[in-house]
Symmetry: C2
Subunit: 313 residues, 2 copies
């Protein structure tokens, strides 16, 4: 059944997944700022190795109130940077009605708890971890460069709700990997983001091949992943969860995948090179803080967090 979807934070990530939902037949509406005029005049365009597509005259508005005037939605897809979490009541609130679900595709360890605290009690919240290389091109254009999957979890780990999220993307070009534990999924994503977003920034804002193909940096990435696995598993235990991160599997998977990525630039590198604020809290400081609370030693991860903090502060 086609769903009504509002996309808030229609940058590269939100825009991409919103377009793929529209392509699959859903009624997708976009909150736009920077690109509003261009999209109004010429439509929204996607260049992608999975197939180009365009929406010639999508429903777009400049304010959440205006977007809400198009009628209620079943889903709000949030593609904001973690630094914009305080704006969620203002940006998402007007779009919520009885039964509206929220899917936040954002980085961070505690981002789900933070968003939940900003939403009305009982809102069903999903966390999506985007494994995707996608950037904004010219106004109204999105350039999809790599991958395109979402590891999807439910805040509360309700399996029936999780299935609703999986169903939303059925028939779309988005690969959905359901995650029985959202907390584990978050830690697993950090196993990539901390070493690679971190070391690529520290090495001067370079793409991942400059890190993964240099043996001492490959070794450092491996060691950082090992520390994150330890911290993540301690956190899962502290939360009373029975699942664990399979450290050797995740390290092998991420290092191997990264070796195949070529000159891919992680999001933090793009932010760094363009002088934008870095997602320091979401990607670096929260996990270090949590490891400290858990009493897990994470010297490499802490060092990376400190260095990125110096560079992005």
């Amino acid at each position: 059944m086609p769903q009504r979807v509002a996309v808030v934070g229609a940058g590269a990530v939100g825009g991409y997944f919103g377009m793929r939902l529209a392509e699959a037949g859903h009624d997708v509406r976009f909150l736009m700022r920077r690109d509003y005029e261009a999209v109004k005049a010429g439509g929204l365009h996607l260049s992608s190795h999975l197939g180009d597509m365009s929406l010639d005259s999508p429903t777009i508005e400049r304010t959440p109130e205006a977007l809400a005037s198009h009628g209620p939605v079943d889903w709000v897809l949030v593609g904001l940077k973690a630094t914009a979490i305080p704006d969620i009541p203002k940006l998402v609130g007007p779009l919520l009605s009885e039964g509206t679900r929220v899917l936040a595709i954002m980085n961070g360890l505690t981002v789900d708890d933070e968003i939940a605290a900003q939403l009305p009690e009982g809102t069903s919240l999903f966390g999506g971890l985007g494994f995707i290389g996608v950037i904004r091109g010219e106004l109204g254009r999105i350039l999809h460069q790599e991958f395109g999957a979402i590891n999807l979890g439910h805040h509360g780990d309700d399996p029936d709700e999780l299935q609703r999220g999986v169903d939303l993307f059925a028939g779309s070009k988005v690969e959905i990997r359901p995650e029985p534990s959202l907390l584990r999924a978050r830690w697993e994503k950090l196993c990539w983001n901390i070493p690679f977003n971190g070391l690529c920034v520290i090495a001067g804002g370079v793409p991942v091949d400059q890190v993964i193909e240099e043996p001492p940096l490959y070794d450092a990435a491996y060691e950082i992943i090992r520390e994150i696995v330890d911290a993540g598993n301690a956190d899962l235990e502290a939360h009373g969860e029975t699942v664990r991160i399979d450290g050797p599997r995740i390290a092998n998977q991420f290092l191997t995948q990264t070796l195949g990525m070529g000159a891919y630039r992680p999001s933090t590198v793009i932010d760094y090179n363009e002088g934008r604020p870095l997602e320091l809290e979401a990607i670096f400081r929260q996990p270090v803080q949590r490891a400290s609370e858990l009493g897990v030693g994470v010297p490499m991860m802490s060092m990376v967090a400190s260095l990125v903090g110096k560079l992005g502060g």
Copy 2:
């Protein structure tokens, strides 16, 4: 007995120690390029917490041949960057005569062997490790900011020769610490240079207080020192030397000293911030290479060397 001293590489370090020798009564002559006109017109000036001084009309020349025309010298004090070692025959050669000794105050692990290979057989060569914060100011001006000692060794570890080097500085404001093993002294200096020159560059070209006062970076520095001590002691053993680096003592000494340095910028940071070539080989790559040859694992040091290489390459 006053000595005749030629200073080659009269930048901040060479200029400073040359001026202190002149102040102590020696006949010091300077090879100058950038500052030649300014010094000819207005003299050479030193601002220092150990006492300001000036040389109103020092003997200066633009070429080693012109400097040699002032007569033979007992010592050549070499203050070049390690990157200038290939120029030593051209710059130092014309100044050498029977019995001339060479004191190179330069960074690096293999710098003494490299310089010795460029000098006539039998030249008595000394290695000086400057522990000093000194920079060039306006033309003809040197600004001495911190410390001012030389750890002095003899290439060959001849104790009688070493004493000659100590005697040269007797009565000057330069504190000389004789080193019975030049190789150990070099590794010990790297115990400061690698962590602090390295991390300060990696953190964006910051002064040492930004590193030493941030616990994860302090811990990283400690770990890097530990690795260097292991590699250095293996190198001493491989060279058949009986002396060893006292790891806990050197770590404690350097970390404590650095906590007192405030906003001091290591030489590599100054080079980095001014866009000059970094002493990658001398400070970072040679020790990593040597540790690898010795089979000593140095992951943190290797990571730092790789990152600085990315930033300075």
